[in-house]
C-alpha cells in the first residue's frame, strides 16, 4: 500500500543547515534502495504557485503566496506494508530535522493512497488489516 507524506512548516527565516540536506539525501537513498520510497521532491514557496477555486459555480484563479501560516515544504510517496512503516520512515525524516536544525518545527501528514486493494475483491494481504 502507498502513503503520501506531506510536510508542512512555517517558511523558515534561514536556509536549512547544509548537513541536513545531505542527511535527507542519505535517508532517501536508503529508503529508495529498500524499495520503500517511490518518489519525493521539494516544493517551491507558494509565492511561485496559484490557487484555483470553485465556488458559487464560478472559478477564481489567485496567484500565491497563500495566506496560510504554514507552507507545503515537500512530499514523499512510500510503498510499504503498513501505516506504521510509513510512520517509521517519516519519523526518521523528522528526527533528522530535530537533530540538525535547532528550533525547526513542522508537521508531516501521513496519508494512505487508494490502490487496487481498495477496489475489486480483497485478496489475503500480507499485513494485518487496519484496526477498526
Amino acid at each position: 500500500m502507498r502513503y503520501l507524506v506531506l510536510l508542512e512548516a512555517a517558511q523558515p527565516a534561514t536556509p536549512p543547515p547544509p548537513g541536513l540536506l545531505e542527511a535527507i539525501m542519505q535517508l532517501g537513498e536508503e529508503a529508495a534502495t529498500a524499495g520503500a520510497l517511490l518518489d519525493t521532491a521539494g516544493l517551491a514557496p507558494s509565492a511561485a504557485g496559484a490557487r484555483v477555486r470553485l465556488g458559487g459555480g464560478s472559478l477564481t484563479v489567485t496567484d500565491g503566496p497563500f495566506a496560510e501560516a504554514k507552507e507545503m515544504i515537500s512530499y514523499a510517496l512510500y510503498q510499504v506494508r503498513s501505516k506504521e512503516e510509513a510512520v517509521e520512515w517519516t519519523s526518521r525524516f523528522m528526527k533528522l530535522h530535530r537533530d540538525l536544525w535547532a528550533g525547526w518545527e513542522g508537521d508531516a501528514k501521513v496519508l494512505r493512497v487508494y490502490g487496487p486493494e481498495d477496489f475489486g475483491p480483497a485478496g489475503p494481504a500480507l499485513a494485518d488489516a487496519p484496526p477498526g
Binding site: A32, T33, A34, G35, A36, L38, D39, L77, Q79, V80, R81, S82, E84, E85, V87, E88, W89, K95, G115, P116, E117, F119, G120, P121, G123, P124, A125, L126, A127, D128, P131, G132
Partner: protein, 426 residues
C-alpha cells in the same frame, strides 16, 4: 470504535521497524557468526526483547539502532561462550583473553560498515542452488522480506507447517553443505545471479497470476518481489538483467489496477482500461529499462520482456501498439530463451501485427509438438485467432478446452464466456 490499545499499537510499531531492519540485522549478524540460522535466531531474540520492553519503556528514539545493538550483544555473548571452552583448554592468561575480547568488540563495532555486501551475501545464500526452489522462496521472503512463516503460508495458500518445514530444511541444507557466507566467485556469478532473479520473479508471478484459488492476483506478493528487485538493483547497479527484471516487474505491476473488473473478473490486456494503469510505475519501469539498455551489450530475457511490456505501456490503445516491434522482440527473446510459451506469445503479436492467419501459422507447430498440452493459454490463443478468422465452431471448442485446463476460477469463467459468445454468433 474501541479506544486504541497502546500495547497493540506498540507491537505494530515494533513489527514495522522489524520489517525495515530485519534483513540488515540478519545479514550483519551472519557475517559475525558465519551461520544464517544462528544469525536469524539472534535477530529474533532481539525482536522478542523489543516486544517485551518497548510496550513498557516506550519505543526507543532510534529503534533500528536499538535492535542492532541488542542483537550484537547477544552475538558477542554467543561468540564468547563458543570460545570459552577452547580458551580454558589452552589456559590462556588474562591479557590474552581481554585482547581477544577487544578484538571481538572491534569486529562487532564494524558490523554496520559493509551492510550492503552483507545483504547481497544473504540474498545469494537464500537463493542458493543447493536449495529446492520452494525452500529458496520461503527463506528469501523470511530473511530478506522479514515476513513471518504465517504470512508466507497465507500468501502461497499452503499450510503454515509446510512453510516452516521448508525453511527448516533449507537452513539444514545450508549447514550440511557448508555453504560459506560469501559472495559467489566471479566464475559462478552469472549462474548464481540467475537463480536469485528466478526466485524474485517467481514470487512476483505468484502474486501477479495466482495459479490457483479464487484470487486473480495477490498484490502483496508483487509488492514484496518489487521491493526485493529494487533492493537488488541498488546493490548490483552494474548488472543489466537486474534492472531488466525490475523494469519488467514495475511495468507489469502498473497494469494491476486494470486487470480485474469490479466483480473481480479478469480483464485481458486488449480490454483493459488504460487510464487505470499506474503512471508512476510505468515511469519507473521505463527508467529501469533505460538503465538496462544504457549498460550496453545484448539484452537478456528479463530486459527483453521488459522491452515488450514497454511497448504496451507506451501505447494509448491496443490498436496503437507497435505490434511489429513486439513480434520482433519476441523473435529475439525466443532466440535468447527458447520456450514454447515465448513462441505462443509471439503468435499473439504476429496475429496482431500481420493478421490472425499469420498468427495461426505460428501456433499450429506448437499444437502439433504437444509441448504445451495442459497449458490453458494455448487453446485460448488459438481460439482467439480462429474466432477472428470466423471459424467459430473450432474457436468454441478451443475456449472450452482452455476452461477445462485452467486452475484459476476467474480465468475459467472468462474462457467459458468466450466459448458461449462463439456459440451465440455461429
Amino acid at each position: 470504535m474501541a479506544a486504541p490499545d497502546p500495547v497493540r499499537a506498540t507491537h505494530r510499531a515494533v513489527e514495522a521497524v522489524w520489517r525495515i531492519e530485519s534483513a540488515r540485522l540478519v545479514a550483519g549478524l551472519a557475517r559475525l557468526v558465519r551461520d544464517v540460522a544462528t544469525a536469524e535466531e539472534l535477530a529474533q531474540d532481539a525482536l522478542v526483547i523489543a516486544l517485551e520492553q518497548w510496550p513498557r519503556d516506550g519505543v526507543p528514539d532510534n529503534p533500528g539502532a536499538w535492535l542492532m545493538a541488542t542483537a550484537k550483544h547477544r552475538a558477542v555473548d554467543l561468540l564468547r561462550r563458543r570460545s570459552s571452552y577452547e580458551r580454558k583448554l589452552a589456559e590462556l592468561g588474562r591479557d590474552v583473553e581481554s585482547e581477544r575480547e577487544s578484538a571481538e568488540d572491534a569486529l562487532v563495532e564494524r558490523l554496520d560498515d559493509h551492510i550492503g555486501d552483507d545483504l547481497l551475501r544473504l540474498i545469494f545464500i537464500s537463493c542458493h542452488p543447493v536449495l529446492a526452489m520452494e525452500g529458496r522462496v520461503a527463506l528469501t521472503l523470511r530473511l530478506l522480506g522479514g515476513l513471518t512463516t504465517a504470512e508466507i503460508a497465507r500468501a502461497f495458500l499452503v499450510p503454515e507447517p509446510t512453510v516452516g518445514q521448508r525453511i527448516v530444511r533449507a537452513k539444514r541444507t545450508l549447514a550440511a553443505r557448508r555453504v560459506p557466507f560469501e559472495l559467489p566467485p566471479a566464475a559462478e556469478l552469472a549462474g548464481r545471479l540467475s537463480s536469485v532473479l528466478e526466485v524474485v520473479y517467481l514470487v512476483f508471478n505468484e502474486g501477479y497470476s495466482a495459479t490457483a484459488g479464487d484470487d486473480w492476483t495477490r498484490p502483496a506478493l508483487c509488492e514484496e518481489a518489487l521491493r526485493l528487485g529494487r533492493l537488488l538493483a541498488g546493490l548490483m547497479p552494474a548488472e543489466r538483467e537486474v534492472h531488466g527484471l525490475v523494469a519488467l516487474m514495475e511495468l507489469q505491476a502498473s497494469r494491476l489496477p486494470a486487470r480485474t473488473d469490479p466483480a473481480g473478473e479478469p480483464v485481458l490486456l486488449p480490454d483493459q482500461d488504460r487510464r487505470l494503469w499506474d503512471r508512476l510505475l510505468i515511469r519507473r519501469g521505463l527508467a529501469a529499462l533505460a538503465r538496462a539498455e544504457d549498460l550496453g551489450g545484448r539484452l537478456g530475457p528479463y530486459a527483453l520482456q521488459a522491452a515488450i511490456a514497454a511497448c504496451h505501456a507506451r501505447a494509448p490503445s491496443p490498436a496503437a501498439t507497435d505490434w511489429p516491434r513486439v513480434a520482433a522482440l519476441y523473435q529475439v527473446l525466443a532466440h535468447v530463451w527458447p520456450s514454447p510459451v515465448v513462441e505462443l506469445n509471439r503468435a499473439v503479436a504476429v496475429g496482431m501485427a500481420y493478421g490472425p492467419a499469420h498468427g495461426l501459422a505460428v501456433v499450429e507447430p506448437l499444437v502439433a509438438r504437444g509441448d504445451l498440452d495442459g497449458y490453458p493459454q494455448l487453446p485460448a490463443v488459438r481460439g482467439d485467432l480462429l474466432a477472428r478468422l470466423g471459424r467459430l465452431d473450432e474457436a468454441r471448442a478451443e475456449f472450452s478446452r482452455a476452461a477445462g485446463w485452467t486452475r484459476n476460477a476467474g480465468e475459467r469463467a472468462l474462457f467459458l464466456r468466450r466459448a458461449a459468445a462463439c456459440a451465440d454468433t455461429s
